[in-house]
């Protein structure tokens, strides 16, 4: 240990309880800037800590358990709180409550728990409370196949809660990206005051890869906007120009009402059509007016592609492997990969559809994303849009995709 490190550690010990910033310093010291073998779920846990998450409530479920396991060990060291709840209904409610009290709150689950959380997710959205739900997908419906991969929750992550509820859903394809998108999920939840969902594939959650996490100083953190007005002027749901309103925490002297009922700008229930419409429009616009900020895509070997593969998460990695083989044989094929699946990257998909003859949509379900691509398909006959589906608990392999590419070219 160098002299400098010693000073730092002593300083840290002294300030651990006193200064909130000490949380970040501690992680940085512990991290040791080197490449390590890391699991997807570990990356999510460290991403959450780096993003400033200081509250986790959850109920362990494979294949997401490691996230809870790591946060149970790490949060108390950083003055954060970890609670193992009695079930997922309580877990989602606990993170909403913690968030209203000022915490950055996150939970992690898998399909069965994600289903139970849907009512709470709708509550977080209508009350515009920042929180993050990590759903590590496994084969469903119901208890399905624990520890086997599936991409069956893509539509549920948008439509799982009743009523119109615009969603922000992120979808990484690697261990490193799991870290990055966890931070992004926390940031977006704070910025847009909503429940952001991070979808993970079982394989990515359990996969280990060589990862070097960035220096904490280079991690961009977004915190919720705090009100600057005196309490009597505070509106809990106030519209500024981008439909992002400040959020006061409980206990700061600002009073507001929190309800799942349709409400006015102070949070009190209303049945007035004009106020109801205004609330619903705000929920919609804060997503749809900020599409450019929310949507992230990766365009891979698409410049001259005649065939495009549209795939997310682990399936996109099979696609990349297939593309390498196909390109070596002179077939012009590329990949469009959404890192944000909701809101759906309409513009990028339209552009892809204009430039290629055929789009292949491989997914580990019986056909979900393909309908979104279909929605944007105008001039093409059905022949131009080809699904590959698998729901057996196995992955779609590079060969599955390569064979389809060869069939169509």
């Amino acid at each position: 240990m160098t002299e400098k490190d010693k000073t730092k550690t002593t300083k840290e010990k002294a300030s651990l309880a006193a200064k909130p910033e000490s949380k970040l310093e501690e992680i940085q010291t512990k991290r040791e800037r080197k490449t390590v073998l890391m699991q997807g779920n570990e990356a999510v846990a460290y991403g959450a800590l780096d993003a400033g998450v200081d509250f986790f409530a959850g109920y362990p479920i494979t294949p997401s358990t490691e996230i809870a396991e790591i946060l149970a060990a790490e949060l108390p060291k950083r003055n954060g709180a970890f609670i193992q709840m009695e079930d997922e209904l309580a877990s989602i409610c606990a993170i909403i409550g913690a968030s209203l009290a000022g915490a950055k709150a996150l939970t992690a689950t898998s399909g069965p728990g994600f289903s139970l959380m849907q009512e709470g997710i709708g509550f977080a959205k209508i009350t515009e409370t920042p929180c993050v739900v990590v759903d590590v997908q496994r084969v469903g419906p119901s208890t399905g196949m624990p520890t086997s991969p599936a991409q069956g929750d893509l539509m549920q992550s948008k439509w799982g809660s009743h009523g119109d509820s615009p969603a922000i859903v992120l979808y990484p394809d690697s261990v490193k990206e799991s870290y990055e998108l966890t931070i992004r999920a926390v940031n977006l939840s704070e910025k847009y005051r909503t429940c952001v969902i991070l979808l993970l594939d079982e394989v990515i959650a359990h996969m280990r890869e060589a990862v070097c996490l960035p220096d904490i100083a280079n991690v961009r953190i977004i915190n919720r906007i705090k009100p600057t007005v005196p309490p009597q002027w505070y509106k809990h749901y106030d519209e500024n120009q981008k439909y992002l309103s400040p959020l006061a925490s409980f206990g700061e002297g600002y009073r507001y009402h929190v309800t799942g009922l349709t409400h006015d700008s102070h949070g009190f229930p209303t049945n007035k059509p004009s106020e109801a419409a205004e609330m619903m429009e705000r929920l919609r616009k804060k997503i749809s007016y900020n599409i450019r900020d929310l949507v992230q895509i990766e365009s891979y070997e698409m410049e001259d592609a005649k065939i495009a593969i549209f795939a997310a998460g682990i399936t996109s990695r099979a696609a990349k492997a297939a593309i390498a083989t196909a390109r070596a044989e002179g077939i012009k094929v590329g990949l469009l990969r959404p890192l944000t699946i909701w809101p759906f990257p309409d513009d990028a998909v339209r552009k892809m559809l204009r430039n290629v003859d055929t789009v292949i949509v491989p997914e580990l379900n019986q056909g979900q994303l393909i309908h979104e691509v279909q929605r944007l398909t105008k001039d093409k006959s059905d022949g131009g849009l080809i699904p590959i589906n698998k729901v057996s608990g196995e992955l779609i392999t590079p060969n599955d995709i390569l064979n389809k590419i060869k069939e169509v070219c």
Binding site: V203, R208, K320
Partner: protein
């Protein structure tokens, strides 16, 4: 050595194959190689199927599961039967003859060693069979350096078990010399 090396360590739950996979992957990380490690296992903590895949390459690895296996380690008959046909043309097959009794396709790249029996006899317990077999695999294939494997074992197992695992590693290396 090919640029991308796909290893599958297979057997049943409780034989320590996933730990062996993690150790092999960690050894590759120590050498600054690209690596992915995945696994598949049944709900049982003992018994049932289990396998770990490790892909080591100098290029980015897209698909993280072994589809064209360069080296297959099979510690049970079931695993051997299940994955044998995914072995690539010049692939290396290593079997534990304590449990694998029937072998349909023996080739010159097949190594038959009673790992579990040897572990029981020399270490008094089958618990380090995984490390012994992994060391044998590393020596035969040369995918990572012996020193990297040693360091990865030291980083991955609890301090109390380092000695017995390093002994198992040495036995594995010695078996491969023969």
């Amino acid at each position: 050595m090919t640029k991308t090396y796909e290893v599958r360590l297979s057997g049943s739950g409780g034989q320590g194959l996933i730990l062996a996979g993690i150790i092999l992957a960690r050894a590759a990380v120590l050498e600054n190689r690209k690596v992915t490690q995945t696994q598949s296992y049944g709900p049982e903590s003992r018994g049932g199927y289990s396998h770990a895949d490790v892909i080591i390459s100098d290029r980015d690895i897209h698909f993280p599961e072994a589809t064209n296996i360069s080296c297959l380690l099979a510690l049970t008959q079931e695993a051997c039967d299940k994955f044998l046909f995914d072995l690539s043309d010049n692939g290396i097959l290593i079997i534990d003859t304590t449990f694998v009794k029937n072998l349909a396709l023996a080739s010159e790249n097949t190594y038959e060693v009673p790992f579990t029996d040897i572990a029981q006899e020399k270490l008094g317990s089958p618990i380090s069979t995984n490390i012994m077999a992994l060391a044998f695999l590393v020596k035969v294939t040369g995918i990572v350096k012996e020193s990297s494997l040693k360091k990865a074992i030291e980083e991955s197992v609890k301090p109390a078990f380092i000695d017995v695992n390093l002994k198992a590693m040495q036995i594995g290396f010695d078996l491969a010399k023969k």
